[in-house]
Subunit: 430 residues, 2 copies
């Protein structure tokens, strides 16, 4: 029986700093859980010369990955570098070199998870990634184990804290997108280049991971439709509220009759849903199981300590096995690939906002086009004609309609001389 | 390697029927997960002569526990009988006879969990009880594993669906307690004898289980203060709403400076908290971890299929180990017992409602008594004097105060000639 478990930490940014802090401060409690000490052997950093906090154990820093790979005392590599290429390469080499892997990397798991899991299984090693989605919220293990008896039909999730902060500010304080983004950046919730979050790319990675586990088929991120929040305006939030809705950036996955829908976009959701109340940087993931019914997991989806909580839980899990000489359980591997429905074929309800000439008969022209495409109107609100420009704003909520029909209809509507602008089109869920 | 895993089911009531249904309908999918078939060998029932649904495999029914205990092909016993004595006895004998245990029994786990876990550990067997709290919501495994790196400082939970249904109806439709209870009984959400749910006993069992895991010390249900919902009136809900609060039956556990508070009682909670929005038979468990911050788990806390979901997940977990010949990981065992604070020593805020003579100076008398006990008033509302009886109703919200002081003050208040009735005292949380 091993008398200590050796760890290698790759990355010493925000998350890596959190992991280091927890390993140090909770060393005694963690040793009790594993029944022997967890010893941090090496930390991989890019720049050895960089100024570090005083408590950093500088003598175990290295910029050479091979020092971790070739250290026979390292049992588990923790990857918190982020990004794709280096991280993926290190994890693959780590597995080939006999190291278990714990990672917080959503991009690598979304793009290369299946390959890494297969490699780990061949090597008799474990790879765990609880921190890759939802920060400290337990999700991956519950999906893999606790919900195992369920057929999951749907996931509706708020899984990007940055955008949820922005839409919360837009909703609560009538801010416009640019101002809310600027504030999020000042508070450190958004990156200087916010595209990954704001365009829904980060959420698409996370959705790929969850949908793969839920539907037991490999869902690749490039097959997930994504649309960001930058076109939302304060007016959309105001109208949503009037209609009894909230607007959230939702990650949606559904399976019906072996066809899968996976998409990330802003959506109207009824304001009485619990998801509608999830504010600020918080995440919430709603899963619909055939046995459980709806289950929701809620918490902080990012941050140094919540992410470290998930990384350390995975480390403890593997370390207990290493200590006892147990091989990891084989992971359920996914090979068959099910059909992913193109976005044009989905059916949902839509909210449309447009600026029109304030003349009689305009609504009739628009209604006719919608009707021609089998789009049925659920409600219409017309707002404050602008006397000066002789224009008015209308909002239309539709009954369920085919996405391709809606797109075609909007193109024709846009071409009407009486329509000045089609300002926004937002899908409605829940 | 075993080529099938044998199961014994004890109990064929609502939950047992659900487990049987899932084992039958999902046999193929479960076999794929475990990598060999799960074979139900015997079902223990009390009354062999009872009428059963047509699909019941009557030839494996028995009323003799020894037939399960002595069947060498049974690896795992599933206990869904409920109640204390028989269930506990069967589980203990099962472990002594070499069977792994999966149970949905909150009462036995709350009262005898530590003993059963120690016995299982000595026998090299597993005992799992995901279904004992929160039905199909993943909770026990997340507490044991995913949140393992956290020091948990508080749990605030709605963990009894029956009472949450009743308080939801009282809040939304101004029903009184008796009418809401009657409706819950007609719908099958409440038992003919509802005391276990309505008096908070069921919630106290569940809280004992969660608090034991959270604080890593044995919390016995008899040390949990519990108070039911039968004294709540429609007026309390109306006033709560006016003051910006909801009323929920909360299970509360807190640890501060090595002193533990554990209690179940109705509580005012701010209406903007997510817990305040949890309606009907749903459960929600909020956990405060030092790393994660708040995490909430939400879903159906009872019912045949949600409970079966949790039972089957535990069965799959054990069956995978049995299939591979892996011993279960040793459970973290709890021996040291921390101090549980008596209810009289807690400090919280209070809402009081009383009927008083409609004279000047009455509030001054009451305020003086409260002040004498160092209870400071946060707000007062006085309501519609009844001209005929010359009485009025007042509601007082306090700042944090000591429970024993509040009780003493109320006793003195009650003795004032100008006070006709102290109608309710409800603690305020969140």
């Amino acid at each position: 029986m091993k008398d200590s478990i050796g760890l290698g930490l790759m990355g010493l940014g925000t998350v890596g700093g959190g992991v280091l802090e927890v390993l140090t401060q909770k060393a005694e409690e963690l040793a009790r859980r594993v029944d022997c000490p967890l010893v941090l052997k090496k930390i991989l950093v890019r720049d050895l010369g960089k100024q570090r906090p005083p408590a950093t154990p500088t003598r175990i820093l290295t910029s050479d990955f091979r020092e971790l790979l070739n250290d026979p005392d390292i049992d588990i590599l923790m990857e918190v570098i982020g990004g794709e290429t280096d991280a993926f390469d290190f994890m693959r080499q780590g597995l080939l070199g006999g190291k278990h892997i714990v990672t917080a990397n959503k991009e690598v798991i979304a793009k290369h998870g299946a390959e890494l899991m297969r490699l780990a299984a061949r090597q008799g090693l474990d790879i765990r990634h609880e921190a890759s989605v939802g920060g400290g919220i337990p999700l991956i293990n519950p999906f893999k184990e606790d919900l195992a008896a369920n057929r999951i039909s749907a996931i509706l999730a708020i899984i990007n804290g940055t955008t949820n902060y922005i839409v919360t500010r837009m909703a609560e304080d009538n801010m416009d997108f640019a101002a809310a983004l600027g504030e999020a950046q000042r508070l450190g919730y958004a990156e200087p280049d916010p595209a990954n979050d704001v365009e829904g790319i980060d959420a698409a990675y996370k959705l790929a991971i969850l949908a793969t586990l839920a539907f037991r088929t490999e869902i690749r991120p490039e097959n997930i439709y994504h649309e960001g929040i930058s076109r939302l305006s304060a007016r959309d939030f105001r109208y949503a509220r009037e209609l009894g809705y909230a607007i959230k950036l939702l990650a949606i996955a559904k399976e019906e009759n072996d066809a899968i829908e996976v998409r990330v976009h802003p959506a109207f959701i009824p304001e009485n849903l619990l998801l509608a109340k999830v504010g600020g940087v918080f995440n919430a993931i709603q899963v619909e199981g055939d046995l459980t019914g709806p289950v929701i997991f809620y918490g902080r989806g990012a941050g140094a300590l919540p992410t470290a909580s998930a990384v350390i839980a995975d480390v403890v899990h593997i370390a207990q096995n290493v200590r006892l000489g147990l091989r990891p359980k084989p992971q359920v591997l996914f090979s068959s690939s099910k059909n992913i429905m193109p976005i044009e074929q989905i059916q949902t309800r839509y909210y449309m906002r447009m600026t029109i000439d304030d003349h009689p008969g305009v609504l009739a022209q628009i209604s006719r086009i919608l009707g021609d495409h089998s789009i049925s109107i659920a409600s219409v609100i017309q707002k404050g004609a602008d006397e000066c420009s002789q224009s008015a704003e209308i909002m239309i909520m539709t009954h369920p309609a085919l996405e391709s029909a809606v797109r075609q209809a909007l193109q024709e509507t846009r071409a009407l001389p009486v329509v000045r602008e089609v300002s926004n089109l937002i899908r409605v869920e829940g």
